[in-house]
């Protein structure tokens, strides 16, 4: 609960494009900054935090120390990466910004994110450190990113010059699977000189852990148990489905080209996305997707026997309520597959008078009771001529009737 004014110095140099900290160094840094701002403002409502960038065209103060968290988060948007970091100037400008804080009772603190190599020599940094110590400004250094020979040594020397009774700290964060913010949460930078961690830091740590004790999927099981359960089930379903799809893909890969696999992959993704919605529907959709997946694969392998089943299944899926629509769909699908089988179906459909009349009824300007229409229907039924002729008849007739 120390009353503190903090200036955060961000490194937005070219070195921050690197992706060794997921998703990129700059993004990891931005997340850490957001977390720190939240922790500081929560631990004491009168705390103020300001932000400045050290690279780019020059040192630039984005926001002077303020307790308005929204302002701080807003200024982090649209930051551009470029240039080289100027550590000395950055720290000096930060010191100046702190000197002009509104509440002189606040302790002064600077937090530096040093991601790119440090160009200044040790002597210069030590001078800066001494000046900070003389004016009782504390300094926290986050050493991440580039790690050429002298950098760590220089930063340690700077810390030794500044440190007054352990109020200043340095943290070395190597690249790895852990996010920058997660590593920082457990350091004194967050917990504030051994106060034991504020409530914010503790809950942030729990969320970040993501383990059994933490909050999975960012949802508190105590607050919303159904949602948490739904998410967990969907995760397991997706895992199972992906395993099954992977197995299939492995099998098909031996016979099929890559195209089938990609299709399989996209269908898996679509299937999994669609399935992560609700509780019970998921399971049903999963089953349907499995079968449709198999049929899709079979189709791509040009097996005529299974294609019909596929189409039927698709029809049942998509058009359960509308038989007319289902049949129409079937028609359109069959137009694109082999002629013989499709044509047979088309003729069967056309032979079904009720179906034809219902279709005609839905056409604008067509009256099924029109004698001419009835004539045509009758003639179509009686004919067992080549299907193409039927199609031709049907097509122009439809146009006529329109």
């Amino acid at each position: 609960m120390v009353l503190e004014a903090t200036m955060i110095c961000i490194d937005n140099s070219e070195w921050m494009r690197n992706g060794d900290y997921a998703p990129s160094r700059f993004q990891a840094q931005a997340d850490a900054v957001n977390l720190i701002c939240g922790a500081k403002t929560q631990s004491n409502p009168e705390n103020t935090v300001g932000v400045l960038t050290m690279a780019g065209k020059g040192v630039r103060v984005l926001v002077t120390p303020t307790s308005d968290l929204g302002k701080i988060l807003a200024c982090m948007h649209g930051l551009e990466i470029g240039g080289e970091m100027n550590l000395a100037a950055g720290i000096q400008v930060a010191q100046l910004a702190l000197k002009h804080r509104q509440n002189k009772k606040q302790q002064q603190r600077i937090i530096v994110f040093a991601g790119s190599p440090v160009m200044h020599d040790k002597k210069a940094l030590e001078m800066i450190g001494k000046k900070l110590k003389k004016n009782s400004v504390a300094l926290d250094i986050v050493n991440f990113g580039e790690d050429d020979g002298g950098k760590t040594e220089k930063l340690e020397a700077l810390l030794a010059a500044v440190n007054n009774n352990d109020t200043s700290h340095i943290v070395h964060v190597p690249a790895g699977p852990n996010a920058l913010s997660d590593v920082l949460i457990s350091t004194p930078i967050f917990t504030g000189d051994g106060e034991g961690g504020s409530g914010f830091a503790a809950s942030a740590a729990a969320a970040a852990a993501g383990g059994v004790s933490g909050f999975e999927f960012g949802v508190d099981p105590n607050l919303d148990p159904e949602l948490a359960l739904a998410l967990r089930v969907s995760m397991e379903e997706e895992r199972a489905r992906q395993e099954a799809a992977a197995k299939q893909a492995a099998e098909e890969a031996s016979k099929e080209e890559k195209g089938g696999e990609e299709q399989d992959a996209t269908m898996t993704e679509r299937a999994s996305e669609g399935a992560s919605e609700a509780d019970n529907k998921k399971i049903e959709i999963a089953d349907d997707d499995d079968t449709s997946l198999q049929q899709a694969l079979a189709m791509s392998m040009d097996e005529p026997t299974s294609s019909q089943d596929l189409q039927d299944t698709e029809m049942s899926d998509a058009a359960a309520e509308d038989p007319e629509l289902a049949l129409a769909l079937q028609l359109s699908v069959q137009d694109s597959t082999k002629d013989s089988s499709s044509q047979a179906d088309v003729s069967k459909l056309l032979a079904d008078q009720s179906f034809v009349s219902s279709i005609l009824a839905s056409l604008p300007g067509v009256d099924p009771n029109d004698p001419s229409v009835k004539e045509v229907l009758a003639s179509m039924q009686n004919q067992s001529e080549p299907q193409q002729k039927q199609d031709e008849d049907k097509a122009p007739k439809k146009e006529e009737e329109k």
């Binding site: 001494k130 004016n135 009782s136 007054n164």
Partner: protein, 203 residues
């Protein structure tokens, strides 16, 4: 301008003159460039103990003899003179610059600003020297900042005692807290007239 005690102190009680230390708000005293945080509070003590260096004293950081001490008072005071006891071997401060009623001064401010008054100090290991102020400027001092820019050649500056001579007024510079009562109840404010005589005095 220094003056020495040309009489022995047994005749009268010198320490009553130097009793302004009682009006110092010790919890809010701060110093910049002190080697041990908080050691500045040890230099404010009674006149008799000014030479008692067994306890802590104020020392600046190694290699840098500059010191800045911020002293708030609990009420406005009038300061007549200041006494400073330094350390031996050149660690006594050689100059003193004071600023009145300004808080948040740091070294760059202190070096650039014009002080209210400044003195060249001499080594005062026995604590018999005092430095008079331009009294008209020190009439209502709520807080005072002492800036010691240099020492007598030592690596650090040591200060064992800082004393103020003057008088305290009962006035404060702070924000006044006033309670307004919408429906005052006289029975809450017992006056002396009711309890037995004397001037009535509503608190």
């Amino acid at each position: 301008m220094a003056c020495t005690h040309d009489h022995s102190c047994e005749d009268h009680d010198c320490s009553s003159n130097w009793s302004l230390y009682k009006h110092i708000d010790l919890s809010k005293v701060t110093a910049l460039n002190e080697a041990n945080p908080g050691s500045v509070k040890s230099v404010f003590k009674a006149w008799e103990e000014r030479l008692n260096s067994s306890g802590e004293h104020l020392e600046s950081n190694e290699g840098d003899p500059e010191l800045l001490v911020y002293i708030p008072f609990t009420s406005d005071v009038k300061i007549k003179s200041i006494s400073v006891v330094g350390g031996a071997d050149g660690t006594s401060p050689s100059k003193l610059r004071v600023f009145i009623n300004r808080d948040g001064i740091d070294f760059s401010d202190a070096q650039s600003m014009q002080p209210v008054q400044e003195w060249d100090l001499v080594e005062n290991l026995q604590g018999v020297l005092e430095y008079q102020t331009r009294y008209s400027k020190f009439q209502s001092v709520a807080n005072i900042t002492l800036h010691f820019p240099e020492s007598f050649g030592g690596d650090t500056t040591q200060i064992h005692y800082i004393g103020f001579k003057g008088e305290a007024t009962q006035l404060k510079r702070d924000v006044a807290t006033i309670v307004y009562e919408i429906t005052p109840n006289p029975s809450d404010h017992k006056t002396r007239a009711e309890t037995g005589g004397g001037l009535s005095h509503v608190e």
